[in-house]
């Protein structure tokens, strides 16, 4: 992997990776910090990066910064906040047109690198902390992110299920923290979080595009050289299985109920679980699609996803309230079918082809490359998409059955209407 992305350390705990390919018409530079997710700090960490992308000393207001970005052909610069297994990902992402297409010959990569560095290393401050006005605005933006979770019922249900599956582990927390903690933050709290991250959190810088990013590397190396850093490592642990299946139902005013069934396969054979997930619910030819949707017409969507870092398979579906039990029974029955070996060589081949097809296409998009390698770096897996597809291609039928046999429902989460009779 290190050959593909040329990952090297440019400061203590700061790694720089770049993929250059002339097929892209734009470039992406992201600076990603990774720290253990915890309830105490999540809100302050997230808020810090909202404040940092609001303005910087060269462009001291949101409007000035935004106008500069628009002028640079609609370049984007945004806070990155996410949950990566047990870690909180926080940082800044920048995407911009390649220099070759600028109408007036502007040096877009150089300008955008300077803006990014400005936001990260030269934020606007007042009395040694972030300005109160900016802090209040961006705290509200973080609170909005937290509260808007319920607008998308499908992702709300999946996130809720992950929190239940990972109860007692860092991954149970939401990466934006909570409304209460965010409301209580002061400018000093957020500034402290910023300083802590800059001085002691592992950083992965990922550049993908048609630029060679040599200048970006030089500038970022010089910028980090001015910071005294002692980076701590991080740890991702597989989620521990519960002794008994946890059933939880939440009521909300909804037309369609959502159900998420989470499994924790008791096996280290990740490749077999990856193949199992494809056959079970990863393609339109999978057991779940063909039976729960096509044969029984119970759902519009019913699919399985694999969270390799936490060792969890999540099946999620949208279903009429009165059919929840029927859908649950069928979802588990289809897993039993795989355990019993009721799938064909062709099913395995279909899964292999789907994996191969997806792997081949990763290099066609900047975000595909970025996500692939960041995920591998975090999990400490050294492989490119081709190697991954090749390994999965070698998984045998027996290994898939064994992986299926190791799966029992850990958590069943249902979001449904509280009314007795659904419409």
């Amino acid at each position: 992997m290190s050959d593909m992305i040329n990952r090297r350390q440019i400061a203590p705990g700061v790694y720089f990776s770049a993929v250059t390919d002339s097929r892209y018409k734009f470039n992406s530079i992201s600076v990603n910090f990774f720290t253990k997710l915890d309830e105490q700090n999540a809100s302050a960490n997230a808020a810090a990066f909202y404040v940092l992308t609001n303005s910087n000393r060269d462009y001291p207001t949101y409007k000035l910064l935004k106008n500069k970005l628009l002028r640079l052909y609609g370049a984007s610069l945004q806070p990155v906040v996410g949950r990566k297994y047990d870690l909180q990902q926080i940082g800044i992402g920048a995407q911009f047109l390649d220099d070759a297409y600028a109408l007036d010959g502007e040096k877009l990569t150089a300008e955008m690198t300077d803006i990014l560095i400005g936001c990260l290393f030269s934020p606007v401050t007042e009395n040694g902390v972030f300005p109160q006005k900016t802090v209040e605005l961006e705290k509200q933006a973080v609170i909005d992110e937290i509260e808007e979770m319920i607008n998308d019922k499908r992702s709300y249900a999946v996130n809720k299920a992950i929190s239940l599956l990972c109860k007692g582990e860092p991954a149970q927390f939401f990466p934006y923290g909570t409304t209460e903690r965010t409301e209580a933050l002061t400018s000093a709290d957020i500034y402290d979080a910023y300083r802590r991250i800059m001085t002691s959190t592992v950083c992965e810088i990922m550049c993908v595009g048609s630029n060679d990013f040599k200048q970006a590397e030089e500038k970022l190396t010089a910028a980090f050289a001015n910071v005294e850093r002692t980076a701590h490592g991080y740890e991702i642990k597989r989620s521990l299985p519960k002794e008994n299946t946890l059933y939880e139902t939440e009521t909300m005013s909804v037309s369609q109920s959502k159900m998420v069934i989470g499994f924790k396969p008791a096996t280290d054979d990740n490749d077999a679980v990856s193949m199992l997930q494809k056959i079970y619910g990863g393609t339109p030819s999978s057991k779940l699609f063909m039976n729960v949707r096509e044969k029984l017409s119970l759902c519009y969507y019913c699919s399985a996803a694999y969270n390799a870092g936490k060792g969890m398979v999540l099946v999620d579906c949208g279903v009429e309230k009165e059919n929840i039990e029927k859908a649950q029974k069928e979802i588990l029955h289809q897993l039993d079918e795989i355990k019993a070996g009721n799938f064909t060589e062709e099913d395995i081949n279909i899964a292999r082809l789907a994996v191969q097809n997806a792997a081949n296409g990763i290099y066609d998009s900047v975000s595909g490359v970025e996500n692939w390698y960041l995920d591998r770096i975090l999990r400490g897996v050294d492989e490119d998409p081709e190697q991954f597809a090749k390994r999965l291609g070698a998984v045998s039928r027996e290994r898939i059955i064994k992986a299926a046999e190791s799966m029992t429902p850990d958590t069943v989460y249902v979001l449904t209407d509280g009314k007795e009779e659904n419409k």
Binding site: D21, R23, K25, F26, Y62, K63, K66, N67, L69, L70, R71, L72, Y73, G74, A75, F96, L97, Y101, L103, K133, L137, Q140, A141, D144, E147, E148, I150, N151, D152, K153, R154, S253, V254, S255, Q256, T283, P284, S285, F289, R293, E294, S297, L298, C299, Y300, Y301, V319, E320, E346, N349, I350, R352, L353, A354, Q356, N357, N360, G361, D364, S365
Partner: protein, 423 residues
């Protein structure tokens, strides 16, 4: 008839073929990419509910939701469904229906020719029985239910329903649970035979594929069709909005709003030109980077989830202001006041260049995505314009174009749709 259309700005070209079968082919090979993306689309969407061909005496009107229902059912023939065929090649396949088109697509990084044969095969071979049609009602019913819970989707449709009296754009693309209950196999065949005539269809392909082999497959598989002289009828639509305010309650965090300004519909090149004029106008007046956005954001009346866009298609054209606010009615007042102020005081020419650069950047970056190019190729051809139209309009649009758009805009001809959080 084959023509090559090139663009000196991008130093790229594509091939447009008027095929003897009646279909139009847009072929955009992209060097250095691994995957190919193909779309086979028809000029048939949810708004096409009233139509006639040369074989009909008069116009007929059919229940809402047939275009979308057809999209679901066309995947099946008497032996298997298209997903099963694609599964054997590893391609990623899907389909979608919008207001004015339906398209079937695949993306693949291997076995392109085989996939193209599958696509051209199943779209030209309908197979509907009473049983298979009935089975789909449950699945589509769940799809409709899913959207009923989506505040972002509902806020838009409620806005369209407030703006339009008769235009079918006001009806959900999938129809309603009641309207789809009226759909049977005879209606599906009737609509299929009317709209899936190759004279009404476009095949758009971008990425890694061989042009000669593609043409050979098209020659072999596209069945010549006689032009049925299809006419669709959009009901007479008053120029004013039907009602000015619509409110619904749903589970969501804070109120969502859509403000829609209704304009007369445009077609062909005029539509693209006006889309560019009004798109830039709204970005300049209201969007991120404008005085208005800064003022509203700082007073916490709106948040980052704020956007303006042109909502256009065959027979409809409007401007939507989309956002979240604790006081949507106040936002409406402020939007109107700002537009009136700018009408009086004039727009800033310097800021026009800034916004134009952003639009040009977006148009250019799109040509770096296989998927983006394929979708744009289909859209442009179905709407009677070339693929480089947007890019050239962005490079050539003038300040006068945008100023005159503001002069022509009737700021009172608008509706607001609000989704309030359910108790």
């Amino acid at each position: 008839m084959k023509e090559i259309i090139s663009n000196p700005r991008l130093k790229e070209e594509y091939i447009r073929v008027k095929h003897p079968s009646g279909a139009t082919l847009i072929l955009y090979p992209m060097k250095g990419y691994s995957s190919a993306y193909a779309l086979f689309g028809t000029r048939y969407g949810s708004v096409d509910t009233t139509f006639k061909t040369k074989n009909d005496e008069d116009f007929i009107t059919v229940p809402e939701g047939i275009a979308h229902y057809l999209e679901h059912k066309l995947f099946e023939n008497d032996e298997c469904d298209a997903f099963e065929l694609y599964a054997k090649t590893g391609a990623n396949a899907n389909a979608f229906t919008s207001f004015d088109k339906t398209a079937y697509l695949f993306s693949c990084s291997q076995k392109f020719e085989e996939n193209l044969e599958i696509l051209l095969g199943f779209v030209q071979e309908p197979y509907f029985t009473d049983e298979t049609v009935a089975k789909e009602q449950g699945i589509i019913g769940q799809e409709i239910r899913m959207y009923e819970d989506d505040p972002g989707w509902r806020v838009m449709f409620n806005c369209l329903q407030a703006m339009y009296y008769n235009n079918p754009v006001r009806i959900d693309i999938a129809g309603t649970v009641e309207s789809i209950a009226k759909i049977d196999k005879d209606l599906l065949y009737r609509c299929y035979n009317t709209f899936y005539n190759l004279n009404n269809m476009v095949l758009a392909i971008a990425g890694n594929f061989d042009v000669d082999k593609t043409l050979e497959i098209c020659d072999r598989m596209l069945k010549p069709s006689e032009d049925p002289e299809l006419q669709t009828k959009v009901p007479d639509e008053p120029t004013n909005v039907m009602k000015t305010r619509s409110v619904q309650k749903l589970s969501c965090a804070m109120p969502l709003f859509n403000i829609g300004f209704k304009l007369p519909p445009y077609s062909g090149a005029q539509r693209y030109k006006n889309k560019m004029r009004y798109g830039i106008l709204m970005d300049m007046c209201l969007n991120k980077g404008s005085d208005f956005f800064e003022r509203m954001y700082e007073s916490k009346l709106i948040n980052h989830n704020f956007n303006t866009y042109v909502f256009d298609g065959r027979g409809f054209f409007s401007i939507i202001v989309d956002g979240e606010s604790r006081d949507p009615d106040r936002v409406l007042e402020e939007v109107k006041a700002e537009l009136c102020r700018l009408k009086k005081e004039g727009l800033d020419e310097e800021f026009f260049i800034t916004v134009r650069n952003m639009v040009y950047g977006d148009e250019t970056a799109m040509f770096g995505s296989v998927e983006g190019v394929a979708h744009a190729a289909l859209d442009c051809e179905l709407n009677g314009t070339g693929l480089y139209t947007g890019l050239e309009l962005a490079a050539g649009v003038t300040f006068e174009d945008v100023k005159s758009a503001l002069d022509e805009l009737d700021t009172d001809n608008c509706s607001i749709s609000i989704i309030e959080p359910a108790e």
